[in-house]
């Protein structure tokens, strides 16, 4: 057909490209390919700036805290010292909770847990930038949000223990919380499938002329699901008041972000094809995360539509307690992460401001550990995993609003046969 086309003449054979991360076990951690720009250099457009004026943002990296822990540049949200201390305290509480839960899992008190280590700024700072009644459609790694919203630790531990006081009646794997009162939407084991629910919820809020907005989180790996595409499409078409966050923590279990396309483009740039602003943010910088979220929330609340935020971070812990990252990534990769640790960075900032000290820090950690310990104790008083007390009826409730006859029959079967 294309006799005139130059390449019709014996081209070289094709070859299948399969990307790999820069380092694997046995190698030294290698982040030399990452380009980390200095803090403070990315301009902050007005929230009603036209999308066409913001197309560079997805390729930049919004950073506020510089190497010395100073807050610089137009994205500095200028939070009060009181708010900053509250943020730091909340991250520390989150971290203390995570640490303790993993230890409980090791002792068999629960079957499963997922830590957010290294990503605490995300759940916490984003919760700070939202209103408490904005609905959050999280993945399993934004537990900081619940602590920021002062949700009782005991309640979470009861879910993790699947005990008598578990509001989810033992039905869910640990950490797949639901807390409507905290604006925390029901989680499921399937990744990604709640991401477009946030858009529907936000559309409903707009439909009802409400003022509440929605926010949703998805992992770098999970962005490959169709649900991600649905969410962006519907958010774009109907100008849904929603914040769509991609938490790029470099890994999806053992799979590097390259397998989700991360070597080819930033995840923030997925926004461009939908005419949405795409912000790429240093996810370990509490101030930057807060500022970007506040900006996106303002857009949403002013009925200017959705924003996609890529939170650039690193999953410092194992994927879950079922995972062993030494099998697939080099030792010490978390420590080599060029954007540091969110807790350390905010601490440094506050100390630089003269608003914090090593002593206060140590005291808050001790306090947080004590808080968790007390919560565990209280939760344990309501039972731990497999501690009996089987409420057989609850197995059949809530499948439907009212229990249909065939489920009553099956409950009878279970009761009489076992």
């Amino acid at each position: 057909m294309n006799a005139e086309s130059p390449l019709a003449v014996s081209p070289a054979p094709l070859e299948l490209h399969v990307p790999e991360p820069a380092a694997r076990p046995g190698d030294a951690p290698d982040f030399s390919h990452l380009h980390i720009p200095p803090a403070g250099i990315v301009p902050r457009p007005a929230t009603d700036a036209p999308e066409s004026s913001m197309r560079e943002l997805p390729y930049q990296l919004i950073r506020v805290l510089d190497g010395q822990g100073k807050a610089v540049g137009p994205w500095n949200p200028k939070l009060s010292a009181e708010r900053l201390r509250h943020g730091l305290r909340t991250m520390l509480r989150t971290r203390a909770f995570d640490e303790r839960m993993v230890r409980l899992q090791r002792t068999g008190k629960t079957s499963f847990y997922i830590k957010s280590t290294g990503e605490e700024a995300i759940g916490v700072a984003q919760a700070f930038a939202l209103n408490r009644d904005d609905m959050c459609f999280t993945s399993y790694r934004q537990q900081g949000l619940l602590f920021a919203r002062d949700w009782p630790m005991v309640d979470l531990i009861c879910q993790i223990f699947n005990n008598r006081k578990d509001r989810l009646k033992g039905r869910q794997l640990p950490v797949l919380y639901s807390a409507r009162e905290a604006g925390y939407y029901s989680l499921s084991g399937n990744v990604g499938s709640r991401f477009p629910h946030a858009v529907g919820w936000a559309m409903a809020s707009a439909y009802k002329r409400d003022t509440r907005i929605a926010s949703a989180w998805i992992g770098d790996g999970t962005s490959a699901e169709g649900d991600f595409h649905y969410a962006l499409t519907f958010a774009s078409v109907y100008h849904a008041p929603v914040i769509l966050n991609v938490v790029n923590n470099q890994w999806a279990i053992s799979t590097p972000q390259a397998i989700a396309g991360g070597n080819e483009a930033t995840f923030a740039s997925r926004a461009l094809g939908f005419g949405l602003p795409g912000l790429r943010v240093d996810g370990n910088d509490f101030l930057a995360v807060y500022a970007a979220t506040e900006w996106a929330a303002e857009r949403a609340r002013r009925n200017l539509g959705a924003t996609l935020i890529e939170l650039y971070t690193y999953r410092a812990a194992a994927h879950s307690t079922s995972d062993d990252p030494s099998k697939y990534r080099p030792e010490g990769e978390a420590n080599a992460w060029p954007l540091g640790d969110p807790v350390e960075r905010l601490k440094q900032h506050l100390i630089g401001l003269g608003e914090w000290s090593e002593e206060r820090h140590a005291a808050v950690i001790a306090e947080a550990e004590e808080e968790v310990r007390a919560a565990v104790k209280e939760a344990e008083s309501h039972g731990t995993l497999h501690s009996g007390d089987d409420d057989l009826e609850s197995l059949f409730e809530d499948v439907f609003e009212t229990m249909p006859q065939h489920l009553r029959d099956q409950l009878d079967e279970l009761r009489s046969i076992g």
């Binding site: 939407y185 029901s186 529907g200 439907f400 609003e401």
Partner: protein, 337 residues
């Protein structure tokens, strides 16, 4: 009361609910300005406004997903999937989300959504405009599945589905949109106007989900069926001269076990008819259910009359469709035993 075909009855159900409940909204592919490729939503956007009745992107998974999110907020979305064949891209959202939300959140969130979709063949639609996927939904705990066979039932059941606080798959046998098709594709079309169930109240009424309807009482055997096949079976029963009781299930889940078992207990014989493929079709569940409940009354094997275990072919549509001949044959065969 007005004379309505099934399209008009469905339209009227949505109209009534849009009027009664500000939380009801309707969306789907081509349902807005145009009113749907089968015209089921014609006029609704003009009457209720663009925010309440609107077009959706061609993304069935996205349609169901956003509906679930709206449901969680407190709305009652009614979505249309243009053909039941195209529900499949939304299958994960229906199974993993819509049907599981209430259970996993212990009642904190739920998805009171209605998913309307035309199903079944007989309109020369070929493989991907003819399928009847109901059986796979009946396997999913947390979903309700409904299929009307008349305009009267369609409106009453759709209103009940919209008001239901659980997700409902509402399948509309498209071959019945314009008339009660009895399977004789070579005979002239019967309009609904000449059928008693084509008389439909203009206002609100509901038919409870989970109640079957005995559309022809009889003593010799029981025919369990739904959708288009209700009319095919009625015709076949007349042709066979066998005094069969024909039960229109209307709701596959919840299923009206009492009506079914009471009938088979009386007749001792049972034929099950559906248009979907045979293997693991809903007839399998019905057959096993009848067998479990009525084993000692059964005088003959339960027979299934179904579509073949092949895709729905285009040219040989009427060789695929389980028409009256096959139903008559099954009736005779259960009577012989």
């Amino acid at each position: 009361m007005s004379s309505m075909n099934m399209v008009q009855a469905l339209n009227s159900a949505m109209d009534v609910m849009l009027t009664r409940d500000p939380n009801v909204l309707v969306f789907g592919e081509d349902v807005g300005y145009f009113g749907g490729v089968f015209r089921c939503t014609a006029g609704l956007q003009a009457k209720h406004g663009r925010q309440r009745v609107f077009d959706a992107p061609i993304a069935e998974g996205g349609i169901v997903a956003t509906a679930v999110g709206m449901g969680a907020y407190g709305l009652r979305p009614v979505v249309e999937i243009q053909f039941a064949d195209y529900i499949l891209p939304a299958f994960d959202q229906l199974v993993s989300e819509a049907s599981r939300l209430r259970y996993r959140s212990a009642g904190e969130f739920w998805a009171p959504i209605t998913v309307r979709s035309p199903c079944g063949g007989g309109i020369h639609g070929g493989q991907t405009h003819s399928q009847s996927p109901e059986s796979i939904f009946t396997h999913i705990s947390g979903l309700k599945t409904v299929m009307p066979s008349t305009p009267y039932d369609a409106k009453g059941l759709l209103i009940a589905a919209i008001e239901d606080n659980d997700p409902v798959i509402f399948l509309e046998p498209k071959r019945l949109y314009n008339g009660p098709f009895d399977g004789h594709h070579d005979r002239p079309l019967q309009p609904w106007a000449s059928h008693p169930a084509g008389e439909v109240p203009d206002d609100y009424y509901r038919i409870e989900l989970g109640k079957a309807s005995i559309v022809r009482p009889g003593k010799a055997c029981t025919v369990l069926t739904y959708g288009t096949m209700v009319h095919v079976c009625l015709a076949a029963v007349e042709e066979s001269g066998i005094d069969a009781e024909v039960i229109d299930l209307r709701s596959l889940f919840p299923i009206d076990v009492e009506t079914i078992t009471a009938s088979v207990a009386r007749t001792g014989r049972c034929v099950i008819a559906h248009e979907a493929s045979r293997t693991s079709g809903f007839g399998a569940e019905l057959g096993q259910l009848v067998q479990e409940h009525c084993f000692h009354s059964l005088e003959a094997p339960i027979r299934r009359v179904t579509g073949w275990d092949t895709p729905y072919p285009h040219a040989l549509e009427w060789k695929y469709f389980p028409g009256p001949k096959r139903v008559v044959h099954a009736l005779k065969s259960v009577m012989e035993n």
